[in-house]
Subunit: 280 residues, 2 copies
């Protein structure tokens, strides 16, 4: 076997930043939609009465001479054991020889990739002067969605944080979100993160107890919850509002009122996956 490069979580955090990830993910989306990169079928297996999941996502990008596979497990009961709920490994293979090139801890890279996907959608589809974002969800991904959104959309000024089940959690998240965002690197060539810290400081974060009230003022809405029912009614969404539906990633999950799809314009990164696993 050829030498296999192994990248730990620390290694990955040193390698990637918001700007680079946005560029790379956008480039990958363009390659995929041009037929230059291909996704293989998704392995999506439920275990332990749906309290755990074993997924494999894979594909090739021959122009970049790589085949990639990510094996990512979600084990809901892990947090009670003091373990990470999501554990993932990515592997890269040389697409000319099939030889493995790298084994990469996929936790951080997954959070960053998903953050970038949302921000790229908002960059092209939200109102160009979008000022107010509403983030529904207060988990790990909410943080990354916010980080990438404010990097990609310089007009965003106010962000409402909503947790539909717990205002307390929304308040707690809001209290330290600025501090946590400062830990995320915006740009590897600005290692002291000066510009980024200024951008984060300029955002008003507001915990909201009332989902509908927050939605009325929104230009951009991000849903990032494990919900299995609608969190957003059709009535609360005005014209031109952009919604990033990040949560619904497997059969049975839902965040959006299905009625909304009758008037909304829907964009998806992968049609077949959106139909089988996503909100559509």
């Amino acid at each position: 076997m050829a030498t296999l490069r192994v990248l730990s979580d620390q290694d990955v955090r040193k390698c990637i930043d918001i700007k680079g990830t946005l560029t790379a993910v956008e480039k990958a989306y363009v390659a995929k939609s041009s037929g230059l990169a291909h996704l293989y079928p998704v392995i999506d297996e439920k275990l332990h009465n749906d309290k755990a999941e074993f997924d494999i996502k894979s594909g090739d990008w021959l122009e970049q001479e790589i085949i990639g596979a990510k094996l990512v497990n979600w084990f809901g009961d892990n947090s009670a054991k003091g373990l990470d709920t999501i554990v993932g490994l990515s592997m890269l293979f040389d697409s000319n020889t099939g030889y493995p090139l790298a084994l990469i801890n996929a936790s951080y890279i997954t959070s960053m990739r998903t953050g970038a996907s949302g921000a790229i959608a908002a960059k092209y589809l939200a109102k160009p002067d979008a000022k107010v974002a509403v983030v529904i969800g207060t988990g790990n991904q909410a943080l990354f969605q916010i980080a990438f959104l404010i990097s990609a959309l310089p007009t965003i000024q106010n962000i409402y944080i909503v947790n539909p089940r717990s205002f307390d959690k929304a308040q707690k998240f809001t209290a330290d979100v600025s501090q946590r965002l400062k830990m995320v690197i915006e740009d590897q060539i600005d290692p002291e993160n000066k510009l980024w810290n200024r951008r984060v400081q300029a955002i008003n974060f507001l915990a909201s107890a009332d989902v509908e009230k927050a939605l009325v003022v929104a230009d951009v809405i991000i849903t990032a919850t494990p919900s299995r029912g609608s969190l957003i009614s059709k009535e609360s969404i005005g014209p031109g509002v952009h919604i990033n539906c990040m949560g619904a990633d497997s059969v049975g999950k839902q965040e959006i009122d299905e009625e909304l799809f009758s008037t909304a314009r829907v964009f998806t990164d992968d049609l077949s996956q959106s139909i089988s696993l996503g909100e559509c």
Copy 2:
């Protein structure tokens, strides 16, 4: 991430032998057919105009507390580059936490596993006094099929070696097969391989230029070629002959006359895979 055990090709060769592999593979088949172990859908992607293939095979065996995945690549042009044609990595995950346990070079373990599968089939389905085997194919897997067959079937005495395209290759394979078989370990508790060497020495290996002539005397036939057309006609197979069809493992591959299936009793380790990828 928890500590990941990494097993190189050398490590794997030190860990497994024929007897242990036969026992483990048979145990796994029993678990699978009892519904205790599960296979997930197979990823089977062709690349470079069918000159390369990227496969992922995965499944769980919760009783053993493991989820496993094997990423195995076949790149036909590799041999011309002095590289291995098949490169594989197996990964084991703790099925209670999803954490990775081991990363294993899967080349040798794949050869051993496939050898064991054939021998287990022959052990239960061939005539109890089977004396003559015909092996069609002179590649790497032919060697493992023979090794496991003579270990599992102590009555086998004569083995005809056939290469349908090249008698020369059949002769070359036959010339050193005994020597190569002695390199395979029969039993870890007999590290000097004394009993095994005696067993190998007792077998008559005969290169055959005529497939049909060889088949007439066969009790057991093993096909292990990359053929895409029938190598065995219905007429040449007498009653009670056992055929292990090892080669046809993806869409388009075939080794057996389809007419033969009208009179044969067919056994398969995985019905849906046999129908979609195999000889059925």
